[in-house]
């Protein structure tokens, strides 16, 4: 399963915000030329789609490489490098008919052999692939049927593959360049995308320039059909938040990501800037409840947690109302979102208290409830200083009101992974961006313990998740995923907190920025207005 594969939903809201507010917009013709300097918090760790890519690298990878198909934020698949495709009813074999007029940046022609080469490269241990290999699922092999027909075989049914094939992780690389550079391909990356690699200074920037030959974008999503408008893109790492905002203000950058919640209102008020909001698909910010560890092994405790938490108040006080309260296992921007579940656990502290009373939890001298001599203490494991502290403290305060004590254990990332994989926690926060509802399998299937951080093992859930995994038609999968989500809420496996948006600040001269299904920016349509 493909972990941080960030797909997402672009969103009407984002598009609406791009337009100048007030008067109706006159359509302007995009201008060719100019440089986009994109200031970003975290360094894109690689230029190789198949390597050990952190999610953030996808902004760069998506600009330089093309994938077989394109997924729109509404879950529709469009032709890209593949003109058409066929899937067998058991979702084990995918046949792609490829475009014949595509060239990699180094002049190598794109064909079925390049597809086979790329997919085989991912499963080669020497590639040290993490996300891409996960996205390939039960991959077996690829047949080159003819020069422009590739047939991909899986060992097992794999319905989410079309989605995986649309992500930058399965971008197609130039076989010539990989053979030439070997492990140094990362310094000489070659794809077929609208931008070519120019230079890179580790920890500082990755610079790309326009590919003048490009004319094979996904059909029917972008307005552009030829080479990109921008001459150049500089993706610049600026870890310090105040510095990142300062560069947008003094013009060193003309776009930054992310804008901190507290700065959104001020930037949006200023005529020189605009804040684009793209909703992330997948699991909202949520907190898993470990069903295997005392006291969250008690269903009454888990349900009480869900009733005791006030999402609206949290969004208002902590997040400046930039994000929206979450009440469901998938965000509203996700394919398969079930709105009806949103009313299942209204904020109701009295209900939480009575559930606990019924289950035998009695308030002790200090107000913390006790049952059988054991106190109602929940250990929450978080990574320190990455914005998880305040939500955890907020949860701590809310649960205290109904007699539960939350112990916040703040640690470094590596130690945190180790702790939660062992299952030492009661509560653990997660944010999981993924545009296919198959992510639910990663979170709640027995086979995914311990990544299934609630450690749930439920035969009904497992059966449904497997069935959906093997059903090619999305329309048939969605009802199954709705069943899964209802079960997740019924068992109170997770406490949804809020639905997050990717917040991109731009100077108003930057036009045409749209987002991929994972809410990541796409630069192909971007152009810069001359002032």
């Amino acid at each position: 399963m493909s972990g941080r594969v960030r797909l997402a939903a672009v969103t009407l809201l984002a598009l609406a915000l791009v337009l100048p507010s007030g008067s109706p917009t006159l359509a302007q013709a995009p201008r060719t030329g100019g440089t986009l300097v994109y200031g970003i918090r975290q360094e894109p760790s690689t230029t190789d789609p198949h390597g050990s890519a952190a999610a953030v690298a996808q902004r760069v990878v998506a600009a330089m490489y093309d994938s077989l198909v394109f997924m729109t934020p509404r879950g529709q698949f469009l032709p890209w490098l593949a003109e058409s495709w066929q899937v067998t009813p058991d979702a084990k074999v995918y046949t792609f008919k490829l475009r014949r007029d595509v060239k990699f940046h180094d002049g190598t022609p794109f064909n079925a052999a390049a597809v086979k080469f790329s997919l085989d490269r991912i499963i080669d241990p020497a590639t040290k692939s993490t996300s891409a290999i996960a996205a390939l699922g039960p991959y077996d092999h690829t047949d080159v049927v003819d020069d422009f027909t590739a047939r991909v075989h899986f060992k097992d049914s794999y319905a989410p593959f079309l989605y995986a094939a649309s992500t930058p992780y399965l971008g197609i690389v130039s076989p010539t360049a990989v053979k030439k550079w070997g492990v140094d391909f990362i310094k000489h990356p070659v794809g077929s995308g609208p931008f070519k690699f120019d230079s890179m200074v580790p920890a500082d920037n990755i610079t790309m320039v326009r590919n003048p030959e490009y004319h094979w974008p996904p059909k029917g999503f972008f307005t552009n059909t030829g080479p990109a408008y921008l001459d150049k893109i500089v993706v610049k790492t600026i870890p310090e938040t105040s510095t990142r905002i300062a560069t947008l203000e003094n013009g060193e950058t003309n776009a930054i990501e992310p804008v901190p919640e507290k700065n959104v209102a001020a930037l949006a008020r200023d005529k020189r800037y605009r804040v684009l909001k793209a909703p992330y698909p997948g699991a909202p910010r949520l907190v898993f409840l470990n069903v295997k560890k005392f006291p969250t092994d008690d269903l009454a405790v888990r349900r009480a947690v869900l009733y005791a938490f006030n999402q609206e108040q949290m969004v208002r006080t902590l997040l400046f109302s930039v994000h929206t309260p979450a009440k469901t296992p998938l965000t509203p921007a996700s394919v398969g979102y079930d709105k009806s579940l949103a009313s299942m656990y209204p904020y109701d502290p009295e209900k939480a208290k009575s559930l606990l009373e019924e289950a035998g939890w009695r308030a002790g001298a200090d107000g913390i409830r006790v049952k059988g001599g054991r106190r109602l203490v929940l250990d929450e494991f978080i990574i320190g200083n990455i914005g998880l502290d305040e939500p955890a403290q907020f949860l701590q305060g809310q649960l205290r009101d109904v007699g539960m004590q939350v112990e916040i254990k703040s640690m470094a990332r590596a130690a945190w992974y180790e702790g939660i994989n062992k299952g030492d926690h009661n509560l653990v926060p997660l944010f999981y961006i993924y545009a296919d509802p198959d992510l639910l399998r990663g979170l709640y299937h027995t086979g995914n313990i311990p990544f299934n951080w609630s450690h749930v093992s439920d035969a009904g859930l497992d059966r449904d998740l497997e069935e959906a995994y093997k059903t090619p038609a999305l329309s048939k999968r969605i009802p199954i995923y709705k069943r899964v989500q209802a079960k997740v809420m019924d068992l109170a496996l997770a406490l949804p907190l809020y639905n997050e948006f990717n917040l991109v600040g731009i100077r108003t001269e930057v036009k045409g920025m749209v987002f991929d299904p994972t809410a990541y920016p796409l630069f192909y349509d971007v152009w810069i207005e001359k002032k």
């Binding site: 972990g3 690689t46 500082d204 870890p239 105040s242 060193e252 992974y417």
Partner: protein, 308 residues
């Protein structure tokens, strides 16, 4: 002189060896696994992948074996590859060294020049307004954290006035703000030391003699008093240079400059062992080199000091 140098250089070896062992142990004893960071959520979903990757990276071997391999490679000029970026560390470190060196040297130059000037002014005008102003500035400099000063400088000179860019490296205009942010603390410390050191020298008989000979106050101050007052200052400047490298870690992040500090911090946060080891080794070498330079400069400043 040659013998002294040889002795000192041999003496530095255990220090550098000690640093490398300590850093290696610390990195491995702190809980957490770089492969898990790398794989993120996949680490748990796919334990086979975890093991395969550990095997490829040599992280399954016993610690002494891993350390031995590190030393053996380092002796051959190879510091391995970054786990996260998959780039050669020698390349990363060398690329980061130049901007850090430029920043550190510029900041040190500003700190020494400013510190000596301020200190001398304060000492000469002891007890008067100039002294109080200089020492107040010194107090401000010591008390202001670098990251805060950095953000303030960016706000005033980059955003409001638009005089200097806020980020990056290369070109004098990108050096000014980070240099100031980094130099202020050591400048203040040095100014205070120069002042007290000068005041002490003033009480020495040879200063009285110089004045009695009828030399101008200028020659007395700069030729006779200052040169002698500088011996403890040089010692402190050497130490401050070490602190300055540590300060550069913060300043580089605030100003988004390429440098050893940012490389090390990103390495530490991601448990990228080889990167942190590489930077630590280089910084240890720099420290040892600077201490040696400080010792050698005594002979220049004080003719009584001889190395034989």
């Amino acid at each position: 002189m040659a013998r002294y140098l040889r002795q000192r250089l041999t003496g530095s070896l255990p220090v550098i060896f000690g640093v490398s062992v300590l850093v290696f142990l610390m990195l491995h004893l702190v809980p957490g696994d770089p492969v898990m960071v790398l794989l993120g959520e996949h680490s748990a979903a796919d334990t086979a992948a975890l093991d395969r990757l550990r095997q490829t990276l040599g992280l399954n071997d016993p610690l002494p074996v891993q350390y031995g391999r590190f030393v053996w490679r380092a002796l051959h000029g190879d510091l391995g590859r970054s786990i996260r970026l998959n780039l050669p560390i020698t390349e990363l470190v060398l690329q980061a060294l130049k901007p850090t060196a430029i920043l550190a040297v510029a900041a040190m130059a500003v700190a020494v020049a400013g510190g000596v000037l301020l200190g001398v002014i304060a000492a000469v005008h002891r007890g008067q307004l100039m002294d109080n102003v200089a020492m107040f500035l010194g107090l401000v400099g010591v008390s202001m954290p670098g990251f805060w000063l950095g953000s303030l400088l960016i706000f005033v000179f980059s955003v409001q006035l638009g005089w200097f860019p806020a980020t990056g490296q290369g070109g004098l205009n990108r050096l000014v703000l980070p240099t100031l942010a980094l130099a202020l603390a050591p400048l203040a410390v040095l100014a205070r030391l120069v002042r007290s050191s000068m005041l002490e020298v003033y009480r020495q008989p040879y200063v009285t003699t110089a004045r009695a000979k009828g030399l101008t106050e200028r020659v007395v101050v700069y030729h006779h008093a200052l040169r002698n007052a500088l011996v403890p200052v040089v010692t402190l400047a050497g130490l401050e240079f070490g602190r300055l490298l540590a300060g550069a870690f913060v300043i580089e992040t605030v100003f988004s400059r390429v440098g050893l500090g940012r490389l090390a911090i990103t390495g530490i946060l991601n448990k990228d062992f080889p990167v942190v080891q590489g930077v630590a080794l280089l910084v240890a070498l720099i420290y040892a080199g600077i201490n040696l330079l400080v010792d050698l400069s005594y002979a220049y400043l004080d003719p009584r000091v001889r190395y034989g």
